[in-house]
């Protein structure tokens, strides 16, 4: 029971956080694409618009901002650890 209860909590948290991760991932990608489209229009750039936007999206996928999304998993784990410590050992 002891291990099972903990496992169930971890599993539920993993599923919920993965849903959040996917949704925010979609949102950020959409923001990024919109920003690229707006910059193209604002700077009145010439040439292959789609290729330029895809290149920008590719840079985003490998960039730092994309990696910050892992905070969606990391911050709740830190929160759990803090609460667990202050409630039981402080």
């Amino acid at each position: 029971m002891m291990i099972l209860g903990w496992l169930r909590l971890a599993l539920v948290a993993m599923v919920v956080l993965t849903v959040v991760y996917v949704l925010i991932g979609i949102y950020w990608r959409s923001l990024q694409r919109e920003a690229l489209e707006k910059r193209w229009a604002h700077d009145a750039m010439q040439g292959d618009r789609d290729a330029w936007i895809e290149a920008g999206m590719k840079a985003y996928e490998g960039g730092l901002k994309k990696r910050l999304l892992w905070l969606i998993y990391i911050l709740p784990m830190i929160g759990f650890s803090l609460i667990f410590f202050y409630v039981n050992w402080d």
């Binding site: 979609i26 919109e34 409630v87």
Partner: protein
């Protein structure tokens, strides 16, 4: 119709507010009168009780720690002291025994009062025999100290941020995905553009393919 709407909103507000008021931590300044360990047989009020300690067999008939206390104005309050373990609400409390030791150590009389701040969640209800669950106890200077609820401040700031984020995400989704779909359906010229979009959807990753697939279910224009 307007009254129905407002009544619904009031109900939602009361439900959410009540839920948060029950679940979030509160600090009570009290004097601990005594502690006890008493057998309870949890009945219809079971959602207001916790569970057996982590690792123990759960049962509706079990021993529960209690902390009896008095407020500075003389009113009485009784706290239960149960583990929440890995369940709801997420206090992850597994140290009810340790809390009991601290509470026993702070018992005092009216002549020589020791004032403590008990952190707890939950409500006291005499009608349904409901007790708030203590999660922490700390000695304080006197009965008049102010305690700043840092956690609740942080919680509501985060809640506001998350609600704002959800709103922004929805608006973005509507602007970029739903509205364009409606525009496409309305205008024949745009359909040519839409087809180009769908062709490009392959390069747009999973989401693009998904919206492209959704679009493929639309009826073809009649000629």
């Amino acid at each position: 119709m307007r009254y129905v709407k407002w009544t619904l909103w009031l109900l939602v507000f009361l439900l959410v507010g009540g839920f948060l008021h029950y679940t979030l931590p509160q600090h009570d300044i009290v004097r601990i009168v005594g502690t006890e360990n008493r057998r309870v047989d949890v009945g219809e009020n079971s959602i207001f009780w916790s569970r057996a300690e982590v690792g123990m067999v759960n049962s509706t008939s079990r021993d529960v720690y209690f902390i009896n206390a008095r407020y500075p104005d003389g009113k009485t309050m009784e706290f239960r002291n149960e583990d929440t373990g890995w369940g709801w609400p997420p206090y992850f409390k597994v140290d009810s025994a340790g809390l009991m030791t601290k509470a026993k150590d702070m018992v005092s009389t009216a002549q020589a009062p020791v004032w403590v701040s008990i952190t707890h969640y939950g409500w006291r209800n005499k009608l349904f025999t409901i007790f708030p669950n203590a999660v922490g106890v700390k000695q304080v200077e006197g009965p008049d100290v102010t305690i700043i609820p840092w956690f609740n401040i942080f919680f509501f700031v985060m809640l506001g941020f998350i609600l704002l984020l959800i709103r922004r995400m929805w608006l973005q989704f509507r602007e970029r995905t739903i509205d364009p779909a409606f525009d496409r359906a309305g205008d024949a010229w745009d359909r040519v553009d839409a087809r180009a979009d769908e062709a490009a959807a392959g390069a747009r990753g999973a989401w693009g393919r998904f919206t492209g697939w959704l679009g493929s279910w639309k009826s073809k224009p009649r000629r």
